[in-house]
Symmetry: C2
Subunit: 281 residues, 2 copies
Amino acid sequence: MTYGKVVVVGTGLIGGSIGKALIERRLAKEVIGVCRRVVSAEKAEKEGAVTSAVVNNYKESCAGADMVIIATPVDTIKDVIDRLSDCAFLPGAVVTDAGSTKKDIVEHAAKYTGKIIFVGSHPMAGSEKSGVENSRADMFEGSVCLVTPDKGTLPDSLKKVTDFWASLGAAVHKMSPEDHDHGMAFSSHLPHAAAYALAGLLEEKFPPYIFAGGFKDTTRIASSDVALWAEIFDSNRENVLEAIRKYKEKISSIERDISSSDKKNIREKLDKWRKLRDELV
Amino acid sequence: MTYGKVVVVGTGLIGGSIGKALIERRLAKEVIGVCRRVVSAEKAEKEGAVTSAVVNNYKESCAGADMVIIATPVDTIKDVIDRLSDCAFLPGAVVTDAGSTKKDIVEHAAKYTGKIIFVGSHPMAGSEKSGVENSRADMFEGSVCLVTPDKGTLPDSLKKVTDFWASLGAAVHKMSPEDHDHGMAFSSHLPHAAAYALAGLLEEKFPPYIFAGGFKDTTRIASSDVALWAEIFDSNRENVLEAIRKYKEKISSIERDISSSDKKNIREKLDKWRKLRDELV
């Protein structure tokens, strides 16, 4: 086994999937879930997502831990880091997280240099479903995980976090926290805003049978957890606003072409954009 | 068999699927494909999408036909109607189409009252792929087809068209051409514009590994045929412009909430929109 004790703070969809993967792949002797509520701890144990779960007990859970993963909602990660700051991990133990934004969190953790070794992570897995009941041991297989070292990150610590996600089946890529947040505003946060806005047009009241697969695919991610997304938008505000501004420019340029019936221009534009998209998949 | 001779003008993805479904379900003695080019006629025959295919020969193909379906790109449908106007169909034979917009086409066909019995259709099937090589006999099973009678449509003709699509496996709904075009601007045309615009942000150049399932789903329909979509936007210009205007308002309202860090407001808004979307699927 690679790890003795791994602590997973927050046992929802992502935390639960981390626990299940560690247990199924026999990577850790113990997987301790730290939950906020008794009912969550009971559910995590019943689901087999942890070897045992505790409620808000950081000190005892983290004593002698090899590795800690914070898998709580993005707005609570900084508080959890505060609570971890006086825990007695094993020497060299690394704390990471699974938050969708990184700069804020990495900067916050840097305050505890000497007390916590923190390297930010963003496993790009999950779905519009949430909760430990939807967690799966194979959640990270074939997925991408971004790790975001800063100038204080030691090579050993970076390697530990990289190896951790790789051991769950993810392809790991390294980015700065700043590049991460800027890129994700375009690749993930804006598409969510765009999907919610499309769904918002259902306020106009149309017969349901005129909505086919195209609409459903385009708005699938508008089924995502609303509280989570309100927090992500807020914690990456400036980048998301930049992405929205640039998106509105693209929409407006299509609007102008349609308005002036400029079929040649719109064909060339859409064709260029279609090709960029098709190169990705 | 329900039909003697069925003529399918245009044997691409939709025309080819109509032909294959008619043949597989043994609904027609003959399925004649009318193509613009020799190579398309040969491909349609080779694919088994028609019992025989001809090139631009409307008069002979349509003589004695029970049913004619125009499955050519939306900007060419009116020309095909012109060419059908002096064909000798069976008495009571109905001409329909498979275009994504309806008002223009239905109004155009009304000029030939007494010569052609035309009822507009919009089978909401297909995919971002095109061409007879992607056509399938089961394309319409479980799909929705909208039929758009106008004030001149006789009940018998409407029934013929409704029965036709139902016989291919579609659930058929009736709408006025105006309501159809207005609704489709929101349910289909705008989502395509939104997806193309999102894909357009790839001009910014990001590493490909930051794009996950959410981006790919949201932009899937940006892989659609560009020439086709340039024509659809143009032929439904006013409605599409209205939908884009209203979409930009929704995006701007999200933008304002993010900008002012109004998490409560954005949560309530996204939650309302999410619920409207989830009621659809």
